[in-house]
């Protein structure tokens, strides 16, 4: 009910612009006061806030539908199963997967990548083989591959980046060889904002019969994702970064890969039959969903994606680009500010340093002004090392942010400079 109303409000027929005031009303937390100031939430790359419709869906689930899924004949179990599987179909549509069983519910992007590293890895990556990642990966897309490579004796190879934070894609061709088993690449970098030329990477990889995993943890909330058009072999993302709940995420995989891979975890739901002598595994997607899933999380994520679709991902992207351009202008022109990550293709993330002032001090002082940004290595220490900074301050934007908030951020940075004299 309310969702519908708010979404309509957000889309005034007369204009193609977002009605930000109306959208902000959908997010109750945005009214919060922090240290006596109006909250300015610019930490969206860490996690997004949730619209009321998602909270309502969770409430409704627990007050009218809650049951375990899949194994029950009773009413609630049927209802919960329908809602849970309905969420899978919503996600299938959102990313335009060919089949709903190519959508595996995970607990987040990190688990999705670990699933591939463990399951695909155990089956297809052997001693002497190679896996390629890039120099701008999140730790979630580094450590699982390091663990795999160490276990099987494979080699991890790194596509380098340039000073703007762009992928040196020309180096990729020379890096692929007969031992290359997978390329795992971030779609949109959380530390730099870089949008990678994933379509070209996939084309190159496929011309060598190498599959590609995209880490879409950041991309999914800012770009229209079409896994069939991208032709990626695997795609992962997290619910909590696309206005959904924590503890839920998605792994998309092409059927033929998922069919050929062994299960990741063992337990209920992922089996077809169990005996002490012989256990046979269930078909997709259940083979990869052991145990009771995060039912409320899946349902909440489905509603979150509906909400985003209701506003329109293209319009969201357009508005966010406007915000980023404005922030780049306003923040970038403050004396002493250095932007980290200046790729031509970029979205929603503004990483920066201030001369002689450590990002943590920036973070603490801004926090006193009610402004939430992130200060640190953003789980991308190799990126920090590349740019030779211990950390950066990072403001990251969502469609519910405003230019006024960016102005407040600029004032906050002036205050930081003042404090440090």
């Amino acid at each position: 009910m309310q969702a519908q109303h708010e979404i309509e409000n957000a889309m005034p027929a007369a204009s193609d612009k977002l009605n930000i005031e109306s959208i902000r009303r959908d997010f109750p937390i945005l009214n919060l006061k922090v240290h006596g100031r109006q909250l300015v939430y610019l930490d969206n790359a860490a996690t997004t806030q949730k619209p009321q419709v998602v909270l309502d869906a969770i409430q409704r689930y627990y007050t009218e539908q809650n049951s375990n899924v899949h194994r029950g004949v009773h009413y609630l179990s049927q209802l919960a199963t329908r809602e849970y599987e309905g969420a899978r179909v919503k996600i299938q549509r959102f990313i335009n997967a060919a089949e709903s069983h190519e959508v595996i519910f995970t607990h987040g992007a990190t688990e999705g990548i670990n699933l591939i590293a463990s399951s695909y890895g155990r089956k297809f990556v052997h001693e002497g083989d190679e896996v390629i990642i890039s120099a701008m990966e999140h730790h979630s897309n580094i450590v699982p591959w390091q663990m795999l490579c160490e276990q099987v004796g494979a080699k991890l190879r790194i596509i380098p980046i340039n000073e703007k934070g762009e992928l040196l894609i020309d180096d990729l061709e020379a890096m692929i060889n007969a031992r290359t088993r997978l390329i795992a690449l971030v779609h949109l970098s959380n530390a730099l904002g870089t949008i990678n030329p994933v379509k070209r990477v996939i084309d190159i990889a496929h011309s060598h019969d190498v599959p590609v995993l995209l880490d879409g943890a950041q991309a999914t909330s800012h770009l229209k994702i079409d896994v069939q058009e991208l032709d990626c072999d695997f795609y992962v993302f997290s619910g909590h970064k696309v206005c959904g709940p924590t503890g839920i995420g998605v792994l998309y995989g092409k059927s033929q890969w998922l069919e050929s891979m062994p299960p990741f975890m063992g337990g209920g739901d992922m089996i077809s039959s169990v005996s002490f002598e012989k256990t046979t595994y269930n078909s997709l997607p259940y083979k990869f969903e052991a145990g009771t899933p995060n039912i409320e999380g899946a349902i909440g994520l489905g509603v979150a994606l509906d909400y985003l679709t209701g506003i329109g991902i293209d319009r969201i992207a357009e508005y966010e680009n406007e915000l980023l351009d404005y922030a780049t202008e306003v923040i970038g022109s403050i004396p002493g500010v250095k932007l980290i990550g200046t790729a031509r293709e970029k979205s929603s993330v503004l990483s920066f340093t201030l001369e002689n002032i450590h990002p943590h001090d920036i973070g603490t002082i801004l926090d006193q002004e009610g402004i939430a940004i992130r200060a640190g290595h953003h789980c991308a220490q190799p990126v920090m090392k590349f740019f030779n900074v211990p950390a950066t301050a990072r403001a990251s934007f969502s469609f519910y942010n405003t230019k006024q908030e960016i102005d407040t951020l600029a004032e906050g940075i002036q205050r930081v400079i003042e404090v440090f004299g």
């Binding site: 899949h70 004949v73 077809s272 039959s273 269930n282 078909s283 259940y286």
Partner: protein, 150 residues
């Protein structure tokens, strides 16, 4: 609320108690396993094919009243039919229990099988009714793997 006796009609209870063709077929030249992993319903189907014709058919296994009655009625319905005729029935039956074919409105060859149409009100039980049909379908296609309704 639909009346439960619509689902558990006398004919169905009767097929459940005294399933037709409930036996291992010694003359079988095709054998097919069917399995519903969620329920644990299990069934083995034996076919004696004479060219394209299902000359004889039998089944064994365990399952609920719906799956047993459905298997029993299925064997009775397809015995003596050709592969193609059976496939038509499979398709019609499948659509009926999923609520996509209304036997009162659309022409069909289901005959007595329409007694099972009540199942469409019970989504949890559709798989029970269709397990034997899926197994038949696989046997006719001569697939190697056990069939599962999941």
């Amino acid at each position: 609320m639909s009346d439960i006796s619509e689902l558990y009609q006398q004919v169905i209870l009767d097929h459940n108690k005294k399933p037709r063709n409930f036996r291992k077929l010694e003359s079988a030249n095709r054998e097919q396993e069917g399995y519903n992993p969620l329920c644990g319903d299990q069934l083995t189907l034996y076919l004696e094919m004479d060219g394209k014709v299902i000359k004889d058919i039998g089944f064994q296994g365990s399952g609920c009243a719906i799956s047993k009655a459905s298997a029993s009625m299925m064997t009775a319905a397809v015995k003596g039919k050709t592969k193609d005729e059976a496939e038509v029935l499979f398709d019609e039956f499948h659509r009926m229990v999923k609520g996509e074919l209304d036997p009162e409105k659309e022409e069909n060859h289901l005959g007595r099988l329409t007694i099972l149409s009540g199942v469409r009100e019970y989504p949890a039980r559709v798989k029970c009714a269709s397990l034997s049909w899926h197994t038949l379908h696989a046997a006719l296609e001569n697939k190697d793997e056990a069939v599962s309704t999941e």
